[in-house]
């Protein structure tokens, strides 16, 4: 993802939204606080945004606000709220949210369940995402589940990054909070780097 920034003025010009809307969306947490980057310019302080992210987000808000209220939108977009979302096993398969393979693996580890809470759904979703991308093996999937379950309850409080590092055929799985830059030695390879936050968002749009 590029690190290009866009100034508030250009953003409003480009998207056609008004100051009132932008500030309202900020209040409702539709645009996260961290995206408001304050910088000194020759006219004093100005606010900038990460261009790609904010344009994508505004696009999403504009396309969904026709059918949803702002509060419902906030529910969907903010990672910290995971209100009453529960799905049954059948529903999950029917709506193609996860595949049967990951469900079986999950069941093997945790026993069979018919209903899934949001936190479980998230674990399942991440597992499925990685398995179907072909980046990980079943054994590694098991490891990821373990790590995710360890971190359960904390995942939606701050930003976490899920990492999978391989060295000489041995895999380690890490769950890191607030990881910006990660360096590994030459013999190791980072096979997976996944932002939990974006997974939560993706999952919510799918639900």
């Amino acid at each position: 993802m590029s690190n290009e920034l866009i100034s508030k003025k250009d953003l409003l010009d480009l998207t056609g939204i008004s100051y009132g809307q932008l500030y309202r969306w900020k209040r409702k947490d539709l645009i996260p606080e961290e995206w408001f980057i304050r910088k000194s310019t020759f006219t004093g302080q100005e606010t900038f945004f990460p261009k790609e992210k904010v344009l994508e987000r505004i696009d999403k808000i504009q396309s969904m606000k026709e059918t949803l209220s702002l509060d419902e939108l906030a529910e969907r977009l903010s990672p910290s709220s995971s209100a009453m979302m529960e799905l049954s096993r059948k529903e999950l398969l029917k709506r193609n949210i996860v595949t049967n393979v990951s469900l079986e693996l999950y069941a093997k580890e945790n026993g069979t369940a018919e209903e899934f809470q949001f936190e479980q759904l998230l674990e399942l979703f991440i597992l499925d995402k990685l398995l179907s991308s072909g980046d990980i093996s079943l054994d590694e999937g098991r490891m990821i589940l373990q790590v995710l379950q360890e971190g359960r309850g904390r995942l939606n409080k701050s930003k976490h990054e899920l990492l999978l590092i391989r060295k000489l055929g041995v895999t380690s799985c890490l769950l890191v909070a607030g990881a910006e830059n990660i360096m590994v030695d030459q013999g190791s390879r980072v096979t997976v780097m996944l932002s939990v936050e974006s997974c939560i968002e993706e999952l919510k749009t799918n639900l």
Binding site: Y19, Y23, K26, R27, T43, G44, Q45
Partner: protein, 236 residues
Amino acid sequence: MYKANNLMMKGSGSAAGGLYNKVKIMGEGTITDDLECSLFKTYGSSEASGNVKGGDIEIFGETEVKRNVQANNLKVFGTLSIGETAAIEITKIRGSVDVAGKFTGNKVDLKGSLAVKGDLEAEEFISSGLFEVSGLLNADVIDVKLRFSTSRVQEMGGQTIRVQKKGAFLPFVKNEGFLEAGIIEGDSVFLENTTADVVRGKSVRIGAGCKIKLVEYDEEFKALEGSSVKEHRKMG
């Protein structure tokens, strides 16, 4: 919540936190832990060491909350200081309120004074008192009447922003209020007695007593008599 007991302190007392129905402190009271109640009233002075969560909070005396305050209704006729953040639906301030962190709410009606170290976010911010916001004052409608002294805000943003000067209560006393701001941004902006670095908006009207370094506007710009605008640009 409504089956919980009432807590009444007269004279001087101390209580642990917990869940109560009504909490009334007349005299001096200390609450040593988190408190949750439907009504919290202080006539004398009180201190809460933890968080306070209440339906209605009314302060006639002096109250200090060391951590967060969450409430539906807050009325302050005395003074209230909050050590962390405040999340209050409807706030009415006739005395003074001090918040060390962020203030979020729906409606703020200010006739006394309010100091917020973090951001202040509300749907409606109506003031004829004095305020100092060290972060961003963000509200759909910001309606400020300047009666006395100088209010300060780092950034102000919203849909409709109106800042007007209003004389003091007493006749013959020449006493005016002022506002100092870094950036003011809104769709419709009207300012009086305001000093600001940058004002941006769709429609911007700068009234008497203003000193603005730069105005950037989309549709309409007017600088009325008695104002000074160093530079103005039409955008887009």
